[in-house]
């Protein structure tokens, strides 16, 4: 019983066949897994290692190199507040604090109900809308805590990958 959807497994198989090496498919495989399982834990690592014929250790090493893969499950929605230099100059810290208070979660943490995770992230390349905020992978630009709460009510966009 695979942890991944049949469609994702198919995608990975296709990549494994068409990419120069099986390992070239690893990053995409991890992204799919993170999106569907919201974590890259032990079981997830072993599943991918099996799919691509890699050692669990090497998959784990890659998974734990990139910021967007998390060992522990993240919330269903992810709010990322940029703390890059540009956003810092436009008061990112206060903004992160406001949002955290409004959503009842501290940066780097996930709400108890697993609804959402609040991240402080390095520069996300949306500096003209500093302090920039992302919801999942949508750039919100300057957003008030209230506006963010409203957005959170809507259905999530496709998580990319």
């Amino acid at each position: 019983m695979s942890l991944l959807s049949a469609q994702s497994v198919a995608r990975i198989d296709e990549l494994r066949r068409t990419e120069p090496t099986a390992q070239c498919a690893l990053l995409t495989a991890l992204r799919l897994m993170q999106r569907e399982r919201r974590q890259i834990g032990v079981a997830e690592v072993e599943e991918i290692a099996g799919l691509l014929g890699l050692s669990a250790a090497s998959v784990d090493g890659v998974a734990r190199f990139y910021d967007q893969f998390s060992r522990e499950p993240t919330g269903r929605r992810i709010v990322s507040v940029c703390r890059g230099i540009a956003c810092y100059l436009r008061g990112a810290e206060e903004r992160a604090g406001q949002i955290g208070r409004a959503l009842g979660v501290r940066p780097g943490e996930t709400t108890a109900d697993g609804r959402l995770t609040l991240h402080l992230v390095e520069c996300i390349g949306d500096c003209d809308h500093a302090p920039a905020v992302m919801l999942d992978d949508a750039f919100l630009g300057v957003v008030t805590p209230e506006g963010l709460r409203a957005l959170l009510e809507q259905a999530p966009t496709d998580g990319g990958g």
Binding site: S55, A57, S58, D60, G61
Partner: protein, 555 residues
Amino acid sequence: MPLVTIDEQPLEVEPGTLIIQAADRLGIEVPRFCYHPDLRPEGNCRMCLVEVKGYPRLAVACATPVVDGMIVSTPHTSALAQGAVRGVLEFLLVNHPLDCPICDQAGECSLQDFYMHPHYGLHSSEVDPSEKVRKRKAIDLGPRVVLDSERCVMCSRCVRFSAEVSGASELQFVQRGNHVELKAFEDRALADPYAGNLVDICPVGALTSKDFRFKCRVWHLEHTDSICAGCSTGCNLRIDHYRGEIQRLVPRRNPAVNRSWLCDEGRLSYRALSAAPRLTQPRVRHDGTHDDVDWEEALAAADQGLHAARTVGRPTAVAALASTSATNEALLLFKRYVASTFVAPLLDCRFGQEDRWVEEREDALLRRRDKHPNTRGAMLLDLAETPDGGLRQMLARAREGAIDAALLLYYPPLVRQEDPATLEALAALLHAVPFSVVLTTHEGAWCRGASVVLPVAAWSEEVGTYTNYAGVVQRVGQALAPPGAARSAVQVLGDLLARAGRARASTAPGALFAELVATVPTYAGLAYESLVSRAADVYPPEGRMAYGQEGFAGH
């Protein structure tokens, strides 16, 4: 051929040679952590920075190939390079726990060696212990290896070995920046049968041996170069012993045989020597029971018994079987004694199918199916000539009553268990023949039936030569003295020859090897003195880090 000048010393090298290899050949020390002659260079530790004339920035000697006319200055002659290397070493120590007192690597640790070198180290720390990044310590990675990630310098030698050489890929880095940590997935025990090498190539105390853990300090060890007797590959190794006990075995580099590696079975083979009680006194059987006697009496008994068998004069009255774990020199004397003393004896070296197995490899790296170090040597002495000869044949003939006496030279295997069938066959043979002389090392139920038991030296207790599966002749070293009254097989066989009225052969290793060369055409031109392995590179070398003489042996 490109000409390179390092610290004013010119050297001509073949194209593609790395600066660090050229420097090693010139005997110029270039400090390094990540470079290893048998691994792909990665250039991550930055300790081997050197100044190359005309280069905009310092180059890493371990990844920069020599080009013709290159002029290189190492930290020993270049202030710039020296400053850089000092800086790198300081960085390496920023988060190092400095727990040398409880670290088994202390004494053969590159960090220690470099820090104590006036050109690279001896700075005072500017970091509070309270400021250091703490990581996990004493992580159990199975039966061979203990990991201390605080001591790791992230040189990735182990990661590369695991991926490139053994193929197990069980180690990888996790996290980023100064939180990078070496990790086996979920701290699972390493299944790699070559895991011991991870400890050897770790330049610091991050990966230490569980077998050697806390046994003794490395500066107490005495070293004896020898050859592994675990299988017919004949890996070059070094016996590290202290107060008359073997503490550990470590590989010596020999690109022609084992590169820098040694399998875990071979690495732990010394344990077999103390697994069963040793024979320390000659024994002669009087009405059913063995009595300890002195050599004089034992040799006399052996000689008389065999003399009787000899005088029967009937063909194949004597079965003579010598293990292929014996040295070439012992086998030579064994053959000479038997051939010159008996008429058409059954003379063989096969307890099982050594002569077939010596051709088969057990895995892609080192291990071979034949677990005897000297089968090829015995075969070159024509001790496996007759088809389907050996123990089975002798037993059959003995049961027919066609054999009056048996002479056995037997060594228990150092890796794996001895095949019970073989031991049964041996016991049966001894019971089937009226008189038998056994030369062996350990107590064993199988030799109860022997008329005379002569205790001989085991591996690591005698000198001599082995010929590996490929015909490479290598010298075996003596680290310890044989226990009790035990003597080297060469000496015992020499005495028997003398008693049999043959001129007492010189048992000096050099002299015997000369006779060997005269006897075996394949050995023509070899000299005992020149047999010392070309492995100038020992890991861990006495108080120094591994130096590679040969280039990176890609595969």
